[in-house]
Amino acid sequence: MAGYVDFDSLQVGDALPPVTKAPITKVQLVRYAGASGDFNPLHTDDRVAQASGMKGVIAQGILIMGFMGQAISGWVPLRDLKRFKVRFKGVTYPGDVITVKAVIKEKRDSKEGLLVQCDIFAEDQNGETKVSGEFNVMKTVG
């Protein structure tokens, strides 16, 4: 498929093309609850969320990880993705607009192929990092 990142022409410190998602909606949180099986009412019931000190329902952390996974599988062939780690740093609300960004942290030839490690971030519309992490790609030869 066209559009994958060409790591051969990129260097450490280079950014991958950012991916900006549509604003998160409450319906999306309900859909994600059904899809993933994470039915914690913190994500679907404003009253429960407010009782926990939130201003309303918050997005499932793994949904934001899913946004990051979407970005990664647009950047690299899925079979090259070897590891994906995230740290959940802040809560995300309906209406927030998440942009997924990544920067190449390391490029190294190994006996299996070119190993690339990237830092990855999910930021909201105010530039606040909600989820950060890293992923490893192995570009096999041939």
């Binding site: 498929m1 998602k21 549509a22 999306q28 859909r31 994600y32 059904g34 899809a35 993933s36 099986g37 994470d38 039915f39 952390g61 793994i62 949904l63 990880m65 899913g66 946004f67 996974g69 979407q70 990664i72 599988s73 647009g74 062939p77 899925l78 079979r79 993705l81 070897k82 590891r83 994906f84 780690k85 995230v86 740290r87 959940f88």
Partner: protein
């Protein structure tokens, strides 16, 4: 409060079938329009056998369909109200397709108590080895769960 003596124990292996419609539901909920996850022809054209599982699909195996997280928290004596998800790591060792029957071996890898200004917390690492119906190891998942004690 997490039971430190449970470190090294785990859940009995549990299985989950990879259902095509669940892949589609997850991808649609994320809002991912990548044809790789929606059209078998697109997947075949990239030399996959079928639609491959998207990177975060395995989360399904730990939620209500299997109840694995709940069972782990219960076994550990962790109260659901105090739980935060700190980190999640997936190591991809093989491809996962619709129809695959995944067996998950979850171990309570470590339980560490930490003191903070606002009280104590437990850092619980759940490590799950995922094998398919051919006993091939296809994924390793590591969840860092934080239990905050008020």
């Amino acid at each position: 409060m997490a039971d430190l003596s449970k470190q090294g124990q785990g859940l009995p292996p549990f299985t989950v079938e990879v259902e095509r419609v669940k892949i589609r539901e997850l991808v649609n909920a994320i809002g991912d329009t990548n044809p790789l996850f929606l059209e078998k022809e697109a997947a075949l054209s990239e030399r996959y056998y079928d639609i491959p599982c998207p990177p975060t699909f395995i989360t399904l195996a730990f939620q209500e369909f299997t109840g694995a997280y709940f069972k782990a928290f219960e076994a550990l004596g962790v109260s659901l109200q105090n739980v935060l998800h700190g980190e999640e790591t997936y190591e991809y060792l093989g491809e996962i397709y619709p129809g695959d029957l995944l067996t998950c071996h979850m171990v309570f890898k470590s339980i560490v108590e930490k003191q903070t200004k606002s009280g104590s917390m437990f850092l619980i690492t759940l490590r799950t080895r995922v094998t398919n119906q051919r006993s091939e190891e296809v994924l390793k998942a590591t969840s860092l769960i934080i239990e905050r004690m008020a």
